[in-house]
Chain length 135, copies 3
């Protein structure tokens, strides 16, 4: 028994973390699947997904700033002759395109301080897909 | 058929890698599951899990030092006004909260030089959970 | 129902990204599995796997260069007294040893710009294994 659903989000900044925990929890509930796991997969090459705390929303800003220092937006990237978004490609590979979360009693087994965050590295975009697969 | 078990570890330094390969292998054995895969999921926002070599334990120190250079412990993070552990949150998102390892003949299909290491980024802590899910 | 297959690649540079999308798609097709997911697992401690765009092959070079700036090849690593490949170990832990991709109608649900790339961080090597597991 498997279940899948996708939803679309609109991003409003060049770089932005968006908390999608609520949307994913609703899909897990809708699936009715009691025990298994959930793959949240982002089908984009300049975005990603992480787990982290959103109780203090400043963590989202700290995360983006720190990543910008480690992987600068401009550094004579070869791909910037074409698209100007090389840094976004690099960040998305480091962060990764998916997270996998165990499910028990139809609940995601997230820790107390873990929220699910979509990572926009090359926005704003009108239509970013988040796909949720439950097995 | 699925199996799950969690165990708790105590960390003794602010930053530390702890080899948990032996504990995870015992759980795989106990599960009796022949073919499938294992998700090691860490339900914390300032810790993580990686695969790497522990034959030379210095790799653990090199890893933590290199990560500290890429993501400095202090950098006027906004979250540090509250908790002082912004760098730990950032590192845990980059490293990731889980690893997934295939299982065959009731054995983890790890490479010769791959060990499983819990990553403490905000210790010491008396009680860090490691959850192991086998499907 | 599960399926697995491994293949070997030869790398020809010290650091190199190699597009393995075609090989993985062939294995998915061969499996005949309609709905499920695919784990591409690299059983090495100085290599990894990412998803990213290969329409512009320069992104591979930009990725390796940016990672080399964030994690320098030489930085008085302790492990370099033994093997000289500490940076490769560190990069492989950051990038990660696997990607998980959902499958529907016997097709990998990759986004338009997502290709699967093996990451060599300590080559050249005559025999790097890529293992593909479909569930």
């Amino acid at each position: 028994m498997t279940f899948e659903k996708e939803f679309v989000i609109k991003t409003s900044a060049h770089q932005e973390l968006i908390d999608i925990t609520h949307e994913v929890k609703k899909i897990v509930h809708e699936s009715g699947i009691k025990d298994g796991f959930c793959i949240i997969f982002i089908p984009h090459a300049t975005a990603g997904v992480i787990l982290n705390e959103n109780a203090d929303p400043n963590i989202k800003i700290d995360f983006l700033n720190a990543l910008n220092k480690a992987i600068p937006e401009r550094a004579n990237y070869l791909h910037d002759n074409i698209d100007g978004n090389a840094a976004a490609h690099i960040k998305s590979s480091i962060v990764g395109p998916s997270v996998t979360i165990p499910i028990k009693n139809n609940q995601l087994l997230l820790g107390t301080w873990q929220d699910i965050m979509f990572c926009e590295f090359d926005g704003p975009r009108s239509s970013r897909k988040v796909t949720v697969h439950i097995y």
